[in-house]
Amino acid sequence: MHIHELNPWRTLIALSIFVIILVIGFLTMPKPQLTFEKSISESVDALEESEAYFYPWQLEDIINDKPDNVVLFDIRDNFIFGQGHIPGAENLSANVLSQKDNIERMKELRDMGVTVVLYGEDELQANGPWMLYRQIGFNNVKLLKGGYSYFKAHKDDLASTKNDEGYKTGLPRYDYAKMAAPKDGAALNIESENKPVQIRRREKTNVAAGGC
């Protein structure tokens, strides 16, 4: 006795429609332009690799020889770039980094084996974009230690920066514990004794603000 239709051709049609929907899903799925190639923990470890950084004294060769296999990208904005930059650097402002043609350009450079050096005003500014590029698989992207400000201060004698500690980061510059130890009031107030007011010409407006 057969009270149910036994021929499965309609089932086949129904399942085929299902498969077609799934195929459409695959085809229309927004394909991410970028994907993370390194997991978080891999990226954490990768921060230690010294080949991921570019050192100020290495700039000397770049400026003099202009090799084809290294490109300098200045990620500051166009206006500041115009006021001064490392010779031979190209401007690639941070806010256009994610534009499609710039990503394409980075991919081309990677495929050609060109080293890309990112720098900003200081090391911090380029740190984020550099980390992102490393995480999405651009292992040719390096970060200029010290940034533009360090370069500017030492541009006449880059070779000697090899032995300089000034651009290094992640180091305590003070003995925190000693410095922050409780002091007695007298010690604190020595420097703040009122000096006679002298009218001087200020060299810079924000000297007093005590930037780091």
Partner: protein, 178 residues
């Protein structure tokens, strides 16, 4: 040979696998649109709460179980599952009309029992199912099917509970059906 001919003249049910695929797609669509699966027993619960609160409003509110389904804004019948169950009735009718199965009132029963006995047993079975569905947070369609399809642990427990028990005790009730 002649017997087969008689059967082939009769309206057939669709291929069970076709029904399954369609039902699966329907669950996907339901989850896609509403974010939850199908259900059936919930509408009966709404009906119980509604009649109970119409007959004895204060007693119903005081009941710790039914009380939680009463809200002051609207009747418990104004519920997704009630509308869905109404649709199930319509859909069943539609299918019955199309395939020619809507006939005068009749009863399915095993060859060894009478219609009257079948009614009593159906009533008891329904009552048990009603109690069980409250413990299980849903019936075959709500908990076992939609629950399992969304990988809920509870759905799988209910599914194995129903079918497992069914197979274990089927032997003792064979007179009802075969």
């Amino acid at each position: 040979m002649s017997k087969d001919k008689v059967i082939s003249d009769q309206p057939k049910y669709i291929n069970p696998y076709l029904g399954g695929v369609l039902l699966g797609l329907l669950i996907i669509v339901t989850v896609f649109i509403t974010g939850r699966g199908l259900g059936a027993s919930g509408s009966i619960k709404s009906a119980v709460v509604t009649t109970s609160s119409t007959v004895a409003p204060s007693a119903t509110k005081a009941n710790s179980y039914m009380g939680q389904f009463i809200s002051d804004d609207h009747s418990p019948m104004f519920n997704w599952l009630v509308f869905e169950s109404f649709g199930v009735l319509l859909g069943g009718l539609l299918s019955g009309l199309i395939f020619g199965r809507v006939k005068k009132f009749r009863t399915d029963h095993g060859p060894k029992i009478t219609s009257k006995k079948r009614w009593v047993i159906a009533l008891i079975g329904g009552a048990l199912f009603g109690i069980g569905s409250q413990f299980g947070r849903g019936c075959t369609s709500g908990a076992a099917l939609s629950g399992s399809a969304t990988f809920a642990l509870g759905g799988v427990i209910v599914m194995f509970g129903i079918f497992g028990t069914g197979y274990v005790i089927a032997y003792f009730f064979r007179k009802l059906w075969i």
